[in-house]
Amino acid sequence: MRLDHSNQLQKDDLAMTEEINILNAIKDCFSNLEGPDKIKELILKAFDLNVDESKLINAMKDGLDEVGKKYDNSEYFLSDLVMSGVMATELTDLVKPRLQANESKPIGKVIIGTVKGDIHDIGKNLVINILSTQGFEVMDVGVDIAPEKFLESVQEKKPDILAMSCLLTAGMVELSNTVKMINEKEPKVKTIIGGRPLTQEFADEIGADAYGKDAFEAVNIAKNFVGEK
């Protein structure tokens, strides 16, 4: 009996080691941007090892944090952020069906769109990708969205946060109008703005709750906002 018990302990240790190894590999796969095929291979291996899905999501979050740091340090570039988003989508597409069975609850609800006068969507789509992988429910209302349309969506969907992207200076006036409208009609909803011509100074001037200088900062701000609830 003692021998059997020892064998079981060894098996448990081995399983735990394998789990730690696969979770580290997933984190490193993101951090080193090893690509969607590699992440798929690792996730399928993790499924074989019966690793809890929430641990896979956390390993991805840790990897994405590393990507964010490398981007901040100018070690990574826009295409690297796009690649991390592609990999995150691959992972969540594989893991989501299993997570839904466990009825995991989103940590917050975000409406996101590009402001009127602007039809660019790279930045917006990056933020959507990362927010989704961080446990937010994200509703994309698209591009060239008028203030009234943002307000309508907010009143209908009751989000915690309204995130707005603006790449062109042409959109800045409409962005300001939208923030003012939301502050007046739906003051409990937090507003986050981001995009090439925007600054913290501009965010302060128009009364936005926050300015995210890049996709990762925007997501960290969103996490802080829902943590305040």
Binding site: S74, L78, S79, M83, I119, H120, T169, R196, F202
Partner: protein, 374 residues
């Protein structure tokens, strides 16, 4: 000194009588405000999209009237043309599609089309397109708009043309997500597309060399506010800098200056653009991304024409007094010794303040007289 002489002096690093002024483009809605007219036309700076020749002529008429009214010294043909008889295709959901598979959304505010999608879903789609449907640069009518502009200009203003960066063509034609995915998975496909677009541009340049053209500006961004859009080694492995060098060489055969436009923080790839691509100049020098035109002038002012860089963001948001100060400062830093064409750091957007644009021009005329004494 006439407009063209002013530009030619400046781009040959001599001091003309005053700093030349131009813009790569002005949004149609803004040109309508400047001229007090309304036109039933549109355009895109990213691709040839006007199939109706009368509308194309009307576009260049309004450009020319605006540029001469503003007293600009240099006018750009915003795009090469669609071939004679070309019928624009539409996607099943009604979006306009260009010759290389990009789909466009119309922006009512600026009256321009901007790329928002692609018809390519798979690598095979791209491969088939490259093998069977790739457009012919030598198709008749390719320079229709350019020839029309050249004719109405009659050598009064210096003449430039905007052609598109092969990398930007491919990035947009695939959309960023597919570009990045395939850049790792099938880099040879991306490279082949870039190479074909480079050959396309070189043939265009050889056509353009028959005309009295002063400047080619290669549009399409390589950088965003954070830095290069791709890791610099990826730009190198995809042959982006070498492809540019081939286009520079083609332009030089005809004595045409070759400038590169890009928004964003360009410092990390500035050396490659100068030493590998050997461009003649840079447009934009995006101050919102932290590019300091004074620093670039110190490092490369002897061999790079600087085309910029009054912040488009400030033109949209700051006061007239602030724009006057910014314009004076740019002239002080970039204009001495020639080699400077004053412009905004992108183009004049419809959303900007007209009074600020006018202040930029008036200040340049007032303080841009050589010798610069600011």
């Amino acid at each position: 000194m006439d407009h063209r002489e002013r530009v030619l002096k400046a781009i040959n690093f001599e001091e003309p009588d005053m700093v030349p002024i131009s813009e790569i483009a002005i949004d149609l809605a803004l040109m309508e405000r400047i001229l007090g007219v309304k036109k039933d036309i549109t355009y895109s700076s990213q691709s040839a999209l006007i199939a109706d020749r009368s509308k194309e002529r009307a576009l260049y008429d309004i450009f020319y009237e605006t540029y001469t009214k503003l007293g600009f010294d240099l006018i750009y043909c915003i795009s090469t043309s669609l071939p004679d008889g070309y019928k624009l295709k539409k996607t099943p959901d009604g979006q306009v599609m260009d010759e290389i598979g990009r789909t466009y959304t119309y922006d009512f505010k600026t009256k321009t089309y901007t790329v928002t999608g692609t018809v390519f879903n798979t690598e095979d789609d791209v491969d088939n397109f490259l093998k069977t449907d790739f457009p012919d640069p030598l198709a008749t009518g390719r320079l229709y708009g350019f020839e029309y502009l050249d004719k109405i200009n009659g050598g009064k203003l210096a003449l430039g043309i905007h052609i598109r960066e092969p990398f930007a063509h491919v990035w947009e034609a695939m959309t960023p997500i597919k570009f990045v995915t395939w850049m790792y998975k099938s880099p040879s496909l991306i490279r082949e597309f870039i190479d074909k677009m480079t050959d396309f541009n070189i043939k265009l340049i050889e056509l353009l060399g028959r005309y009295d053209l002063d400047i080619i500006i290669l549009g399409g961004d390589l950088c965003d506010a954070h830095g290069p859009m791709l890791p610099p080694d990826k730009f190198k492995s995809l042959g982006v800098f070498e492809a540019m060098k081939k286009q520079v060489d083609a332009a030089h055969k005809f004595g045409i200056k070759f400038l590169k436009h890009t928004d964003g923080q360009i410092n990390p790839i500035l050396e490659e653009l100068v030493d590998i691509s050997m461009i003649d100049g840079l447009h934009s020098l995006d101050p919102s991304a932290g590019v300091d035109i004074g620093e670039v002038k110190k490092r490369y002012g002897h061999k790079l024409i600087l085309h910029g860089n009054i912040s488009v963001d400030n033109l949209a948001t700051k006061s007239v007094d602030e724009i006057i100060e910014e314009t004076k400062n740019v002239i002080k830093l970039a204009s001495p010794g020639g080699g400077h064409i004053l412009s905004s750091s992108n183009s004049w957007y419809a959303g900007g303040k007209l009074e600020n644009y006018m202040a930029m021009v008036e200040t340049a005329r007032k303080y841009g007289k050589y010798p610069i004494t600011i």
